[in-house]
Subunit: 150 residues, 2 copies
DNA sequence: AAACTTATTGCGAATAACTCTGATTAAAAT
DNA sequence: ATTTTAATCAGAGTTATTCGCAATAAGTTT
């Protein structure tokens, strides 16, 4: 959980600035219920309802920035756009099992996998941001019907 | 390695058809060098050069279809488009370590991870298509510079 | 082998996620 | 306070991907 000051510190370290918009975005994710995630558009609408609107371009820019900082993680569920959630450490860190047809997502945890991720990154001299096992599959419902396009 | 007949079999099973275009696409991926992968556009251009052109929409349709069948896997390297490669079983199955800044990708293998994938899918009653550990990180080069946007 | 059904193709238009531009504002440093 | 320059906003622009529809052809039935 980042405080406003901690966020400022990591931003300033790279020559970036703490803006009210960035605080707002981080707070929105921190308040989010476990297992929930937001697309750029979702976040845009949420902030509008909250009466703390932020322009779409700013949202896109900061979602990318915060992912590249390791604060958020980018999820690839649906076919055509990304989702985001807080990137949390071990007890809350998790992976996803996704039905490629209906996009239903199930979370699961696995510390061994996280360890593999950490060690592979270290081995290659990379600075780890996030690691996630993505399992693409067909859920019980969607695997049944023999026919039906796509 | 799918033969043309094996491909026909799995397609027909679902009421789908074996078309020359589908054979061409599968063959293109089978001929691809280890570690290589193609975007829809890449494939389009490759097939054009090969004098076996296929329309872009057909390419998109079939990349999706073949991914949903478990023949191809969808990779999310670059920011703005997908890449595809053959979905191969155990000795060739692998995962990716990716630099989020320069998109450099390093492959690595891990049977334990595959096992977790298989067991989680089974546990939830899903039909497994593909599982991949994606490690987002900064490569040695990209992690250095303190300043520089996004 | 001819007829039939309907999945598939190709083309171009349409969509939608995302990025870019340029003027303005406001963090942080001096 | 002043200065520097990163960040915001709004809207235009870009581009990967999908859609619609007429024409074609795979697989099936007779």
């Amino acid at each position: 959980m980042y405080s406003s000051n901690a966020l400022k510190a990591v931003l300033n370290e790279k020559g970036w600035r703490l803006t009210p918009q960035r605080e707002t975005i981080l707070t929105a994710f921190q308040r989010l219920q476990k297992g929930k995630h937001l697309s750029a558009e979702d976040l845009y609408e949420l902030l509008e309802q909250q009466e703390t609107p932020i322009s779409l371009s700013t949202i896109y820019r900061n979602l990318k920035l915060m992912s590249h900082m390791g604060i958020l993680r980018e999820l690839e569920f649906a076919e055509d756009h990304k989702h985001y959630e807080l990137n949390q450490p071990s007890p809350n860190h998790h992976h996803h099992l996704i039905c490629v047809k209906c996009n239903q997502a199930i979370e699961f945890k696995s510390d061994p996998i996280q360890k593999v991720g950490k060690s592979k990154a270290k081995q290659a001299g990379f600075h780890l941001l996030d690691c996630q096992l993505t399992i693409h599959a067909l859920c019980p419902r969607c695997k049944k019907p023999a026919k039906s396009a796509s």
